[in-house]
């Protein structure tokens, strides 16, 4: 083959490869509706684009499992995940790496899950859950119900806010969701029955295959050392800063997962 043609094709495919590497993918956990989630995270995605000088595509998946499977498939470079999805992902895909935990408005880097009901409904039959891989889902509610969740009727609704709304609408008697999200609905008569022990706060997870160690360091620094003015643009779940995440932070959760089989579907 003519050397020049070979060089041209090489350069062409190299460019294509570069082009492919140029666009990264960010996926948030679908804790709330799509618009809310988009509003929460879009500013951070823009910030990271500038910091990395790379385009980042925002992709929304309704299902936690889809996030995990796509992450493992290398289709996701960034993900905002709760501790349980991360632990599950890490278990199956070691290249997943939690960089930081986002803090809440109190500056805490942990969060809790709440079991809620309404002030006017005393029944305890139907329980609304987020998702199987949601920390505040089956795992937390089961723990708060003394591991007797299987004795209740439960259904996965997908999002934390849906759990709150469906409980409020009387479709479910109780629901498990992130305490921070639940608080937003207390004014509508949502009541907290029980709260879990703190879990590591939701984290920014990366596919370490997608980045060099220097880039990983840069991303970590960019999230840890950030102007308050920039943070003010970000959504509520991530606007209070972050702390560096360590894999050991997830060990208590790993303990909880021992001897438990989380059903992937509701039971009614």
């Amino acid at each position: 083959m003519d050397k020049r043609i070979f060089k041209f094709l090489l350069a062409f495919f190299f460019c294509l490869n570069l082009e492919a590497e140029e666009t990264l993918t960010f996926v948030p956990l679908p804790t709330e509706d799509r618009k809310t989630i988009y509003n929460y995270f879009y500013p951070m995605v823009s910030y990271l684009e500038k910091e990395l000088d790379k385009e980042i595509k925002f992709v929304y998946y309704d299902n936690y499992e889809d996030i995990v499977s796509n992450f493992k498939a290398g289709k996701i470079d960034f993900a905002y995940l709760g501790p349980l999805p991360y632990v599950q992902l890490k278990k199956e895909f070691n290249k997943a790496l939690a960089l930081v935990h986002f803090k809440n408005e109190k500056g805490e880097s942990t969060y809790t899950c709440s079991l809620v009901r309404t002030l006017w409904n005393k029944k305890r039959q139907k329980i609304a859950l987020t998702q199987p891989l949601s920390t505040c889902g089956y795992l937390s509610v089961n723990a708060l119900l003394d591991k007797k969740l299987k004795n209740y009727k439960y259904q996965y609704l997908g999002r934390h806010d849906l759990v709150a709304l469906e409980v409020l609408n009387g479709e479910f008697d109780m629901g498990g969701l992130k305490s921070d999200i639940a608080k937003g609905y207390f004014h509508l008569g949502l009541d907290e029955i029980a709260v879990t022990k703190p879990f590591p706060m939701f984290s920014l997870i990366i596919n370490s295959q997608s980045f060099s160690s220097q880039e990983i360091q840069n991303i970590t620094n960019a999230l840890l050392y950030i102007d308050q003015e920039e943070l003010n643009k970000w959504g509520k779940p991530i606007r209070y800063g972050a702390v560096k995440a360590m894999d050991e932070d997830f060990n208590p959760l790993r303990e909880m997962l021992k001897n438990i089989q989380i059903p992937l579907e509701g039971n009614f």
Binding site: T36, N39, S46, H187, L188, G189
Partner: protein
């Protein structure tokens, strides 16, 4: 000439201006027509959008009003709201609020299906009470961000309008809420822009819509986390798009490429920006890839007529007025026609200018002619006359133009009036096509006759004589000069003096008849030759000629007398005057020689000189010469030892001869006596006649010895007496006479001649006394 050129220029500039005005007028007219048609078209398009927009908005207004009236205001659930607001206990308030939310949630679900985006309850203090569309966000003060809510809470009147908001912008239908007379606050049933656009699309399916929001009324309201959804419009920097990329599920779909292209075409259009700032309804159309598209910008006004945003409609334009397509053709035709006409005008102007310049040039030439020039028609009326002609004739141009040349100044050197039909110039030109005359005469304005040389020629058009151009020049001076020349020539020719004109090399070019007479040479013989070749006598020395040439070559006249030789070889005296004639460069061009034969004068002069010392009758020395001679002799006496005798002679009886035979005979006698006396004396002696019959003789160089001197003197006197005694034949008259001689002998100078003569006369008296015919010595 300049004036003519200027008037030409003004004419063309006028034409240029007129055509330009016509072209501009046509362009204005077409643009006016296009503008009017387009205005009509725009108005109908705007009206269409306006009607559709109002229909879409009204649809939701009617719908929400119905919802409010039937499902909210009259609902039992309002009681829950009342308790949720007014209960003292928070848990109770939460309880009722939750129940309130739960009971209206199905309604909200239904509303969403019908395109309602928001169901939002506000308290009367303008704080958010419950957003069904965003229940976790509440209690925020809306006073600053939502003036429509403030309006409703304040006035307790419903309102329906477009207004930007903290979460979204849309069409707000806000109603005051009361429960048993207590004012609770207000409820807002809002429709998203997408819903309105969807409705518009239902009404106008071939249109595409987007909303632009007034950035000044939007930016400050937004939750920080919402701001990223808004981007600045490229049409107007003071407007923003809401989720232009349709990231969110309930956002209108992104604009098509055509609409984006149209937006790009509207970019940075200051006029558009100004119109938008004025809340104007704007319509435009664009041609993209051969297809016309309309774009209508419809202002969305909110509370107190504030400009909340613009609804922009994009659609293919199916009924654009034909004039739009035709206008470029019309303008091209006008432009091409204009350019063509201007091109023609430019060519015409150039040609006219060229002709004008030629005409000007010709007029300049004729005006600057040293000859008069005029043009007449066949009736001799003057069409053109140049300044020189006017000057010669003494008229101004205006006085002559249109006048009959024949009647005005043709004289033809005759004193009587000549009818036009007999005008020799006209007749000559008509017959021969031209007339040339060097003896024509014109009359000047002041009646003077001017001799002119004319040259008239006919001008023909279509083989017919239509004009006559005549050039003429005033030859009066030439004529006078010629006359003078003739006179001069005649004078020269008739001059008794020979006149010869040569060139600078002395070659004869002209000579008058007197020269022939003087020299005997024919003029034809002398022409072309040098005079000295013919008439030089060789009597003059070379220095003479050198002096003459040096003078005349020094450009000075020379005069002198020369002896020349005639053709027959005889010599003659000539008085010669040579005058060099210089040209304008003061170079010798000619020599004029005037020759006069002065031979007679010379002879006469000689004769006059002779008779100054000689007696004209006897040709003997007269008293004057005798005196001078006597004095010479007196002077010689002191140095020379000699005797000198002075003899005074007198004819005896001469008076009687005169009285009896007349003076003529007496004169003859005197001449005869003179001859005999002269022949009787020695060569060295002289005899002179003192007057009448009195003669005197000086005998010089007589011997030193007085006796010997007396002897010689006596001898001579005897000869004299003898000679006189011989009879004379006087005109056939024989006459006998004698002499009486008085002798004064001296060897010392006398004081003067008279003194000596007196002494001789004393002796003569003695001789006469002795009986005449004898001599006597002074004693």
């Amino acid at each position: 000439m300049l004036k003519i050129q200027k008037s030409y220029d003004n004419f063309f500039y006028g034409l240029f201006l007129a055509f330009t005005m016509i072209a501009i007028g046509a362009i204005f007219y077409i643009n006016e027509q296009k503008f009017n048609r387009l205005q009509g078209y725009y108005e109908s398009e705007i009206e269409k959008i306006s009607v559709a927009y109002e229909a879409a908005v009204d649809k939701y207004s009617f719908y929400t009003e119905k919802i409010f009236t039937k499902d909210i205001q009259t609902s039992d659930n309002i009681e829950n709201l009342y308790y949720a607001i007014s209960s003292n206990d928070e848990t109770t308030r939460r309880y009722y609020k939750g129940v309130f939310y739960r009971d209206f949630y199905p309604l909200f679900s239904d509303l969403k299906k019908d395109g309602i985006r928001q169901l939002h309850f506000h308290l009367k203090d303008n704080t958010s009470f419950l957003r069904f569309h965003y229940p976790s966000v509440y209690k925020d003060d809306l006073t600053l961000y939502r003036p429509s809510i403030v309006y409703v809470n304040k006035n307790k009147k419903p309102i329906s309008l477009f207004e930007t908001g903290r979460v979204m912008s849309g069409f707000r239908n806000i109603y005051p809420l009361e429960y048993k007379g207590a004012y609770l606050g207000s409820v807002e049933i809002s429709v998203s822009s997408k819903s309105v656009i969807d409705s518009l699309n239902t009404l106008l399916p071939d249109h595409e819509f987007q909303f632009l929001l007034n950035a000044k009324l939007t930016d400050f309201k937004l939750f920080e986390s919402q701001k990223h959804l808004y981007s600045k419009s490229i049409i107007h920097p003071d407007f923003v798009h809401e989720d232009s990329n349709a990231i969110l599920p309930d956002s209108p779909k992104p604009l098509s490429q055509i609409a984006k292209q149209i937006d790009t075409l509207l970019k940075s259009n200051k006029e558009l920006e100004i119109l938008m700032n004025k809340k104007e309804k704007i319509a435009r159309f664009f041609k993209i890839e051969g297809t016309y598209y309309n774009v209508i910008l419809f202002p969305i006004l909110g509370l107190e007529n504030r400009l909340e945003g613009y609804l922009i409609s994009y659609a293919k334009a199916s009924n654009i007025p034909p004039i739009v397509d035709l206008t470029p053709w019309f303008l091209s035709i006008i432009g091409a026609g204009y350019i063509f006409i201007i091109f023609l005008l430019v060519i015409l102007r150039a040609k006219s200018k060229e002709i004008s310049e030629q005409k000007n040039w010709f007029l300049d030439v004729t005006d600057s002619l040293g000859e008069g020039l005029y043009v007449i028609d066949t009736n001799a009326n003057i069409i053109y006359i140049n300044p020189m002609a006017c000057k010669i004739l003494g008229y101004t141009k205006d006085e002559l133009l249109g006048k009959s040349a024949h009647d005005t100044f043709h004289s033809h050197n005759i004193d009587e009036y000549l009818p036009l039909e007999e005008c020799p110039i006209l007749l000559g030109v008509k017959e021969n096509g031209f007339v040339q005359s060097i003896d024509e005469a014109f009359l000047t304005k002041d009646g003077r006759k001017v001799w002119v040389e004319i040259n008239s020629r006919a001008l023909y058009k279509d083989n017919s004589l239509y004009q006559i151009v005549t050039t003429f020049k005033d030859v009066s001076i030439r004529k006078e000069l010629e006359n003078r020349m003739k006179l001069l020539t005649k004078a020269l020719e008739s001059s008794s003096n020979a006149v010869v004109i040569t060139d600078a090399n002395a070659i004869v070019s002209w000579a008058n008849p007197a020269f022939e007479h003087l020299t005997g040479y024919k003029i034809t013989e002398i022409i072309g030759r040098k005079p000295n070749e013919l008439v030089s006598s060789g009597k003059q020395s070379s220095s003479f000629y050198e002096e003459m040439w040096s003078t005349i070559l020094a450009k000075k006249p020379w005069s002198g007398e020369v002896i020349n030789k005639r053709k027959d070889g005889t010599l003659y005296y000539e008085e010669l005057h040579i005058t060099p004639v210089l040209n304008s460069k003061r170079e010798i061009q000619h020599f004029i020689a005037i020759k006069q034969d002065i031979s007679e004068r010379k002879e006469r002069k000689k004769s006059i000189e002779h008779y100054a010392y000689y007696d004209y009758l006897t040709n003997l020395p007269n008293r004057r010469l005798f005196n001078e001679h006597c004095l010479q002799v007196f002077k010689s006496l002191p140095r020379e030892k000699k005797y000198v005798a002075l003899l005074l002679l007198d004819l005896d009886g001469f008076k009687k001869l005169n009285d009896t035979h007349g003076h003529d005979l007496g004169d003859v006698l005197l001449r005869e006596v003179a001859i005999r006396l002269e022949s009787s004396i020695r060569a060295k002696d002289i005899v002179a006649r003192l007057g009448g019959d009195e003669f005197v003789i000086i005998l010089d160089n007589l011997p030193v010895d007085i006796k010997k001197a007396q002897e010689v003197s006596t001898l001579i006197c005897s000869k004299l007496l003898e000679a006189a005694n011989k009879p004379f034949s006087l005109k056939e008259v024989s006459y006998q006479t004698s002499l009486s001689i008085g002798i004064f002998l001296f060897n010392t100078p006398e004081p003067n001649v008279e003194n000596a003569l007196k002494k001789a006369d004393v002796a003569l008296y003695e001789a006469k006394a002795k009986g005449r015919n004898t001599y006597h010595f002074y004693e």
